[in-house]
């Protein structure tokens, strides 16, 4: 999954998005309102800087959500302690949501202005995912249908929204086999 989908691909913050954010921010920050005009010409530069930090894999965000599942978390801990065959975990339909913040620090004439904080909401509906936990890491074995909705907000103002599906993920090799959850199975780890 090294060639996963980056966040900046669906979002791609533009000069106009930054302009809108600055406009909204100027309403709230009196110290910022004065700098709004000279900053307007630098919107492209600010957009490029924001896109730079959005160079994050979408699946990396998903991994953070998957790691919160108790069984996955335990498998990660155990696999990190002992070299053993990977633990295969299949997650049925679930939704991973996270809220991050894009913080834009601004210096005008070496004078710092209040940070512009944008909320980045990410919501991924995953039909199913099969993970392999090995050596303390989560590897994606198979990923069924997934749709990702990314929203960029300034407070309650929606600046940008993009929804897309992630395709091309590895197919589930165990798709045709009965899921283990359909049986009462115990969870055993070789320690």
């Amino acid at each position: 999954m090294d060639d996963g989908i980056k966040l900046r691909t669906p979002l791609d913050i533009s000069h106009d998005d930054v302009e809108r954010a600055l406009l909204e921010y100027a309403k709230d920050e009196p110290t910022f309102s004065g700098a709004h005009r000279p900053l307007r010409n630098a919107g492209q530069q600010a957009a490029a800087e924001l896109n730079r930090v959005l160079d994050v894999d979408v699946l990396e965000m998903l991994r953070r959500g998957w790691a919160t599942v108790p069984s996955v978390s335990r498998a990660i801990q155990l696999s990190a302690l002992k070299k053993a065959p990977p633990v295969i975990i299949r997650l049925d339909e679930h939704c991973v949501s996270s809220t991050s913040h894009l913080v834009l620090g601004i210096h005008v004439a070496q004078k710092p202005l209040p940070d512009l904080r944008l909320a980045l909401e990410l919501k991924a509906d995953v039909q199913s995912a099969t993970l392999a936990v090995r050596e303390g890491r989560i590897e994606l074995v198979a990923l069924a249908d997934i749709s990702v909705v990314a929203r960029l907000k300034y407070q309650s103002v929606l600046l940008k929204e993009h929804s897309s599906g992630v395709n091309g993920g590895p197919r589930d090799p165990f798709r045709n086999q009965p899921a283990a959850s359909e049986h009462r199975t115990s969870v055993d780890f070789y320690i």
């Binding site: 004065g34 996270s98 991050s100 210096h107 004439a109 969870v187």
Partner: protein, 507 residues
């Protein structure tokens, strides 16, 4: 190259020769000739007498009769001044003064000047801002007065017979060593900061009065009067009272004459309405609030611009100071937003004026102060213009020699010559700089004066640094009908995950 230098030198020589000839052709004034030789020199035309220039044309009787005497209005109220100067165009400006607001302090021109009808008469009115505070009941008392919050009545002290009784203390005196005037100006009462001077609308039409009182709530009431219908005959509060914007201003408007006598009076031709304009005060470098208060009789539009001046400071105004503007006109104030102010140096308070970006705003330089734009004195009132021609030549030592007319006539020629010389020198320098590489090998190097460093205010450097603060992620499993009742382990109760070991399948 040599030919070019020769031509240049030749040009200078021709120019200098023509200047010398022009000077030589001018007869010198007889006052510079010795008294013993003056008569002979005057007879031969070698010198010329200098006399003051007097308009010897006969006075036109008709023109003189059209000039009207200007009445003196200093000390009167503006309304009275208007009544006395109805034949002229009245322009007024305000100045802080201790006189009651609206009192004429100065007048230009002053009597006994005569002006044609419709000429401009400028008056300077007191704005009443330096009026002394209300007098206290007993000013002989030197003791500090009690605070305003706790006024109390001092009862007469029977034991001290010399101290007069004090009825009540109205307000505290200014601290010792502080003049009353400065204390009033520098520390106005908090409530007065939000108050604006109420303009005088007496005598105006209802529409004009509403325009002037645009910031206030106008309450109208009609009353029969000999004044023309629709004109304001009373106002409460009256100028120069101060009132908060939005506060009601009660106006009484004339509803016309109430009886036949008044109707007869109203039938009389009224003097033309006074064309009134105000001289715009200079409000640059003041805070917007102050400027807004100073321009109470105008509509003020605020335009924020990026500038190095402190936030809220007026850096320009349109029309410029000194312009004559009708009341109610829109004045645009350019107010700095302070965004280009230099960063504050840590540990030391760097004054903003020392930073290059905080230089004097260009608009401020162009705005002439009202004092600088003093009204011009009409030439007709200049007493020197009417001085008689002197027929007898006074002794040389006693004569105040006017400017030599020959030199006066020569000045433009000399000025043009100097400008031409400067232009030629600049042209040569420019060419020399352009081809300096070639010239360096031929001619000796000339040390040109170093060009001054021009402080060009650069665009403010803007830097961005973005970072992603990754928040916590939550996962929520979506329950389905076939799994909702699944009997899973306690650990997996909240999730729908299946965990199996690789060895289970391949072992």
């Amino acid at each position: 190259m040599r030919a070019k230098r020769f031509l240049t030198t030749l040009g200078f020589a021709v120019f200098a020769a023509s200047m010398t000839a022009a000077v030589a052709q001018q007869p010198r004034p007889c006052s510079t000739v010795a008294p013993t030789e003056r008569a002979a020199a005057r007879a031969s035309g070698a010198c010329r007498d200098i006399a003051p220039i007097v308009d010897a044309a006969p006075q036109n009787g008709d023109a003189a009769s059209t000039n009207l005497p200007v009445s003196g209005v200093v000390g009167l109220t503006f309304d009275d001044a208007k009544d006395r100067l109805t034949r002229f165009e009245l322009r007024r400006s305000y100045r802080p003064s201790a006189e009651p607001g609206g009192t004429v302090l100065e007048q230009q021109p002053a009597p006994p000047a005569r002006l044609p009808a419709g000429a401009i008469v400028r008056v300077v009115l007191s704005d009443g801002t330096l009026r002394p505070p209300p007098k206290v009941a007993a000013s002989e008392i030197d003791e500090p007065r009690p605070a305003r919050a706790a006024p109390r009545v001092q009862q007469p002290q029977p034991a001290v017979a010399d101290v007069p009784p004090v009825a009540a203390v109205l307000e505290p005196l200014p601290p010792a060593g502080t003049s009353r005037e400065s204390s009033v100006r520098s520390d106005p009462p908090l409530a007065d900061r939000d108050r604006l001077a109420v303009p005088n609308v007496l005598g105006m039409s209802e529409k004009s009065a509403r325009t002037r009182l645009g910031r206030y709530r106008v309450e109208l009431r009609g009353r029969p009067s000999s004044a023309p219908a629709g004109h304001v005959i009373d106002q409460d509060p009256k100028a120069p009272a101060r009132a908060t914007p939005g506060q009601p201003i009660r106006l009484v408007v004339s509803s016309g004459p109430a009886n036949n006598r008044a109707a007869a009076i109203a039938q009389k031709p009224l003097p033309p309405p006074v064309s009134e304009t105000l001289e715009l005060a200079n409000v640059t470098n003041r805070s917007f609030d102050e400027a807004n208060g100073a321009l109470a009789e105008f509509r003020v539009t605020r335009v924020e611009v990026a500038d190095a001046a402190p936030n809220g400071q007026v850096i320009g105004q349109s029309p410029t100071a000194g312009s004559m503007v009708q009341p109610g006109s829109t004045i645009t104030l350019r107010v700095s937003d302070g965004s280009l102010a230099a960063p504050v140096t840590t540990g030391a308070n760097t004054p903003a004026a020392t930073t290059p970006a905080a230089a004097t705003p260009p608009a401020a330089a162009s705005d002439a102060s009202p004092a600088a734009s003093a009204p011009e004195t009409p030439a007709a009132t200049t007493p020197d213009a009417a001085s008689p021609v002197s027929t007898t030549e006074p002794p040389v030592s006693e004569v105040q020699q006017p400017a030599d007319p020959s030199l006066t006539a020569l000045m433009p020629v000399l000025g043009v010559g100097a400008l031409l010389g400067l232009a030629l020198a600049a042209f040569r320098l420019a060419r020399r700089n352009r081809s300096s590489g070639e010239m360096r090998n031929i001619e000796p190097t000339i040390n040109l004066p170093a060009e001054p460093d021009v402080a060009i205010a650069p665009d403010p450097e803007i830097k961005f640094a973005a970072r992603l603060e990754v928040g916590d992620a939550q996962i929520e499993f979506i329950a389905t009908s076939d799994t909702a009742d699944a009997d899973l382990d306690d650990e997996l109760d909240s999730e729908k995950a299946t965990v199996e070991h690789w060895g289970d399948r391949h072992g």
